[in-house]
Amino acid sequence: MHYHWNWGIFFQQVSSSDDTFFNWLMIGLGWTLAVSLSAWVIGLILGSIMGVLRTVPNRKLAFIGTAWVELFRNIPILVQLILWFFVVPELLPERLGLWVKQDMPAKEFITAVLALSLFTSSRIAEQVRAGIQSLSRGQSYAGLAMGFTQAQTYRYVILPMAFRIIIPPLTSEFMNTFKNSAVSFAIGVWDLTFVSRQMVEESGGQVIETLTAATVLYFLCALAANRLMYVIENRSRVPGLIVAK
């Protein structure tokens, strides 16, 4: 294979730009981190709420939780993103829709975070529900018997244990958020995937070098998430509470 290798490409300046390709990758990494972390935080909050709603005795609230999960979990993330970007603005009143389409600041970023956080929240909700349901019903009854309200039982008895139990699947979900954020290039967020596509084009076809760099950066993001969650898992461990050693 007569491939023209050029690992120095990262330090070459992009034509008609003040940046090097390395700067570009850093900009891409920045947007990937921004989209992923924002989506993770919002997803975790919404997912926790919806996960709890799925387990409460109130049927209407439980239905909301279930509907939320099934809606956002059963549609591919790319399709959801395109729906939010191309379809939803058409359903808004015309002037508001035009503002969203043309003048809303950081419109690609906001749309990407919205789509990714809703998608992530549906998956986190299921994990939270699983964590809660893995506890024996006696825990909940004990809380209520102590005179706690339903909300207090969740806050002080159930959730502290449930969240500790689901740290391993949450770790995977956190890592997935970084990987899923790659779809945001489809609506024009300057993330790592976008940058690598553009870099392939403007570097004269240095595909292997470009994709290697993008791969390493995605890998490092996911690995960092994994290590962070590992630390949290260790720090939050309460000996004897669940099945701890």
């Binding site: 294979m1 034509s15 191309f86 603005p89 389409k101 024009g188």
Partner: protein, 354 residues
């Protein structure tokens, strides 16, 4: 490719198995098997019964002849032609939405101006190799993978819409320029926009992973205007942005703009306006340092230009109703393309800058 001293000196191989490791990859199993037969017959010859002998000798002669004819071919052919001869197949790289050069018709079959030219080249390959039944495979490529797929041998001839520029010539070679594109912009007629400078502060769409992104950047820098760029993941998405007012203009190669407009719901609502941001030669792409195949491709394309066949194809794809909607692009031939046909060349985009 490894050649042992014994092979190079033209002597028959000592042992088949010792030979196996040093095979030229593309010669492959066919000659491996022939050599096994050759060795087996050669060593068995002495023990043959008299009545079998003539038949076996004839077989031996056939084995030797086919070996030596292959040796002659191996001397004559190299690069892509040898690969095609040995594998019995040629692979064309196709694009699915680069109208009207290479795109899908209503039956999901790839058609277009470059596809027609490529099949002319395939005919020339068939004639040269005397393989009328050569198998032709179509492999879809994208702007991301087309160069690596040509370089690594997956695709022999890329028939999409690839700009020939100096950077790419380090990796691949190009056939003579068969189309010249001008990067311009599509707008809604109702917007009244006629020039890029009217777009300051407005959203302008282009497609990720294309040279148009860089062009807009340099235009911004040069003219000190500030667009709000929005990016579609493919041309259809970028056009959708224009259609849905997410962008007031779509900057892209003019043939792609014309093709997207022709296939839109209301073609008369759009216009291609403004000066050319850039002029780029588009050509069929092949492997570098492959003089035999390059000569065949060049001769075929130049022959089509000389005979006027290329003009007929241009009329068929750019000035007549084409699939899938039977719409006519009405895309008259540019002066640059007329010049490239009058004087066939594979000059890179850099030579088109004024």
């Amino acid at each position: 490719m490894f050649v042992t001293a014994r092979q190079a000196s033209g002597k028959p191989p000592l042992f088949c198995r010792a030979q196996a490791a040093s095979f030229d990859f593309w010669t492959g199993w066919r000659s491996y098997c022939l050599q096994i037969a050759y060795n087996a017959i050669y060593s068995a010859r002495a023990e043959l019964l008299p009545e079998d002998r003539m038949f076996k000798q004839a077989l031996f002669a056939i084995a030797v002849t086919s070996l030596s004819s292959q040796a002659i071919l191996a001397q004559e052919l190299d690069g892509t032609l040898k690969k095609v001869k040995d594998s019995g197949a040629i692979t064309l790289g196709i694009r699915t939405s680069s109208g009207p050069l290479s795109y899908l018709d209503a039956n999901q079959k790839v058609v277009g101006y470059h596809i027609d030219i490529c099949y002319k080249i395939v005919d020339a390959v068939k004639a040269k190799l005397k393989m009328p039944n050569l198998k032709v495979t179509e492999q879809e490529v994208t702007s991301q993978n087309r160069i690596p797929l040509v370089v690594n041998g997956t695709v022999d001839l890329e028939c999409g819409s690839t700009t020939n520029n100096a950077d790419r010539q380090k990796q691949v070679a190009f056939a003579p320029t068969t189309f010249v594109t001008n990067v311009r912009m599509a707008v809604k007629k109702s917007s009244g926009i006629t020039d890029l400078d009217q777009l300051s502060g407005k959203p302008v769409a282009t497609t990720t992973g294309t040279t148009s992104v860089a062009l807009m950047r340099s235009h911004e820098k040069g003219k000190n205007v500030d667009f709000k760029e929005v990016y579609g993941k493919d041309h259809a998405d970028s056009f959708q942005m224009l259609e849905s007012d997410r962008a007031v203009a779509f900057v892209m190669d003019d043939n792609l703009l014309a093709s997207n407009i022709a296939n839109s719901q209301n073609p008369s609502a759009y216009a291609i306006v403004g000066p050319a941001l850039s002029t780029e030669p588009i050509a069929i792409m092949l492997r570098r340092d492959d003089s035999q195949f390059k000569a065949l491709v060049d001769d075929t394309v130049k022959g089509m230009m000389k005979s006027g066949e290329i003009n007929k194809l241009y009329t068929k794809w750019f000035l007549s109703p084409i699939p899938p909607k039977n719409s006519n692009l009405n895309f008259t031939m540019s002066e640059q393309l007329k010049a490239a046909i009058a004087n066939p060349n594979d000059n890179p985009a850099e030579s088109y800058k004024k």
